[in-house]
Point group: C2
């Protein structure tokens, strides 16, 4: 006799998750994948990380293996606060350590969102964030954007129409588009957020991966905004995604609510990993390491942009990101990037179709290309193949 | 102008969490605490663990720092499956790795429970599990128990009355009571669960910490029950709570739902920690290590039981656990263990008041004592002081 577990409505009919499929796709051995946002493992600062694990287990071993603190270990909170204080004065007790940014997003949703609440997001936006919000029964409304991020008039209109509980933004080198909100746009958006007393979830995992130009301060650092923003950083893109260490900055009593949620979800994050990351930030040269990574990534972005330049259909629009990991192409009429993926994989190249990043009205001609994983030569050759697939697709009768 | 974040109904008015308060209490330097279920850090197998971290970072470093698999790294799933297979044949693909059992409980609640669903629990039961269920709006109904666990007639009646979505049990060395369901009771309960086609969440973090007698198979291993049980283990009590590695066994399509939930919550658990724990289980001597721990814990249980024997009021009932970490006392009439805690702390000894472990009808005379953290001498002296506090409390006019 078969038995079926009860399945909560939030997951009924969901056989799998888009993010999981990214990783499955990226693992196919016969395909050069630009689908996942996977750092190049050859660039990891492995010797330094091993040194830090060894130091922690030698000098703080009993503590590293013991239960820790829900909000995070003191050293890790101090180091996270110091990094955030480059742009926004932050004390350790305003920082909660999370198991990657993903847990930070899930905790924010647990703490803030009731079923049926509206959360406004950029259109398109990071799909794993949408998953975390959707798991709480939130209605996710995409706000129209241009190459400088969310459009102020559209944001104003969406607030008026939907009375949202929160706004979710990735202002720097956004996933999936690679676009960055300039300071003037941050100020316009911040003014609207302030005036409507709207809670802002500001996700900034890529901001330090800037290839050129000046670093931009987070929206949270604009006057009055720090107290109504949950600002999130992560070590995943700077040091290692495998250690799963991120953090959230919050002011006032909401920090306590985040801690109650964290306690229910996972009690605390790995103490070994927290102490090791704190040691790394204290004693190793993250800035120097990131400078090396940026240098490599910049060349790869150039290789990808050069290989595509002038070779996409006239109807195409492509971003030229100043940092981060992603380039985004809207190929325009005649192309369905989801349908084209099978041909691309047959040609040995994979990308991520863009439609899944839209909360509403998906643009099926879009695709996301990560430029960080492969060498410039592999990128150039793969983009040649991709251009060939696009050309063949356009030649087919519709 | 102040700003108040919206707070989801599930956390409204919850200023803190009971589990967090355990750890805060345990950290007071002037008090010998028996409140938390804190392993003695002097017993950690630190050299072996350091060896395993070093091996992983030397031989699997790039993989350890990279993104991993939502369900868990293959080696870790294999090792977890091998441990479970001692009692119940388990394949690696039936195992999901979680960031401690707490995340496993939260994921189970995410996957199974809608708001308003009833989940049956032992009365009393593990309060952090109740938190994970309550965060999903579940109604938590405690089923009456005796020293052998949940009472079959009471379970039958509760199923009839509440049509529960699931039943949550800790059959071995339960938290908080230390009690164990004998095989005959497991069979009676299993028969009821089968007949009512009820989903069972079986939490077994302590089962391997048995001081005497035969190991008991989990309820999930009884005929027909594996397919309707989510069975959970953890390394927290055997190796280290700080590494946050636990796992859930599931058969059939519910495993996919658990993975979707895990992906939304935290993407995956620390790859470094997973590979290290797998290496530890593969190459080090966990059984030998646990045998040493058991030997120490047995003496400590004896020290605590001896120090209390014959010295509690006639109305008191105390458990004599054959394993695990906890001893449970119901002091009976005239004592409110919550009110008495301040006097106990003034006398330099802390316990955990038992009322918070009850879903309904709390017995305020109960308290939980962890016997694993301190030496027999410290236990004996502290129990002397606790007996003094109890005696003085009984002498006070009510």
């Amino acid at each position: 006799m078969t038995f079926d577990f009860p399945v909560a409505d939030r997951y009924r009919g969901l056989a799998t998750s888009p993010v999981k499929e990214i990783f499955a796709l990226a693992a196919r051995p016969d395909v050069v994948s630009f689908a996942g946002g996977i750092p190049d493992p050859a660039l990891f600062d492995l010797d330094a990380v091993r040194r830090c694990y060894d130091w922690v287990l030698t000098h703080q071993g009993q503590r590293a293996l013991q239960y820790g603190v829900t909000e995070g270990e003191a050293e890790m909170r101090e180091q996270a606060a110091a990094r955030m204080s480059r742009f926004l004065p932050t004390s350790a007790d305003q920082v909660q350590i999370t198991s990657g940014s993903q847990e930070g997003l899930f905790i924010a949703a647990q703490a803030l969102l009731n079923e049926g609440d509206v959360i406004l997001v950029e259109s398109p936006t990071y799909l794993a964030a949408v998953q975390a919000f959707a798991a709480h029964g939130a209605r996710i409304i995409g706000v129209p954007c241009d190459d400088h991020g969310v459009l102020p008039d559209a944001l104003e209109a969406a607030i008026g129409e939907h009375s949202p509980a929160a706004l979710y933004l990735i202002p720097s080198f956004q996933n999936p588009t690679g676009r960055t909100m300039p300071m003037s746009r941050r100020e316009q958006v911040g003014e609207i957020v302030l005036r409507h007393r709207l809670a802002l979830i500001e996700d900034d995992p890529y901001g330090d991966l800037r290839f050129s130009g000046e670093a931009l301060a987070p929206i949270a650092s604009l006057p009055g905004l720090s107290k109504q923003t949950l600002l999130m950083n992560s070590m995943s893109k700077l040091m290692s995604p495998g250690v799963r260490i991120g953090w959230t900055r919050a002011e006032g009593p909401i920090g306590q609510t985040l801690a109650v949620a964290k306690s229910a979800i996972s009690m605390q994050s790995s103490v070994v990993d927290q102490l090791t990351v704190a040691r790394y930030l204290e004693t190793e040269d993250l800035e120097g390491h990131v400078a090396q990574v940026i240098d490599v990534y910049r060349h790869r972005r150039d290789a990808m942009a050069d290989a595509l330049s002038g070779r996409l259909p006239d109807s195409a629009h492509i971003t030229y990101p100043e940092g981060g990991m992603f380039l985004w192409a809207s190929l325009g009429s005649g192309i369905n990037a989801q349908d084209m993926l099978a041909d691309a994989c047959d040609a040995g190249v994979a990308y991520l179709p863009g439609w899944s990043f839209f909360a509403q009205d998906p643009d099926f001609s879009t695709l996301r290309l990560s430029f960080v994983t492969h060498s410039p030569d592999v990128i150039a050759e793969s983009m040649d193949r991709l251009v060939g697939v696009i050309d063949r697709t356009l030649e087919q009768p519709i």
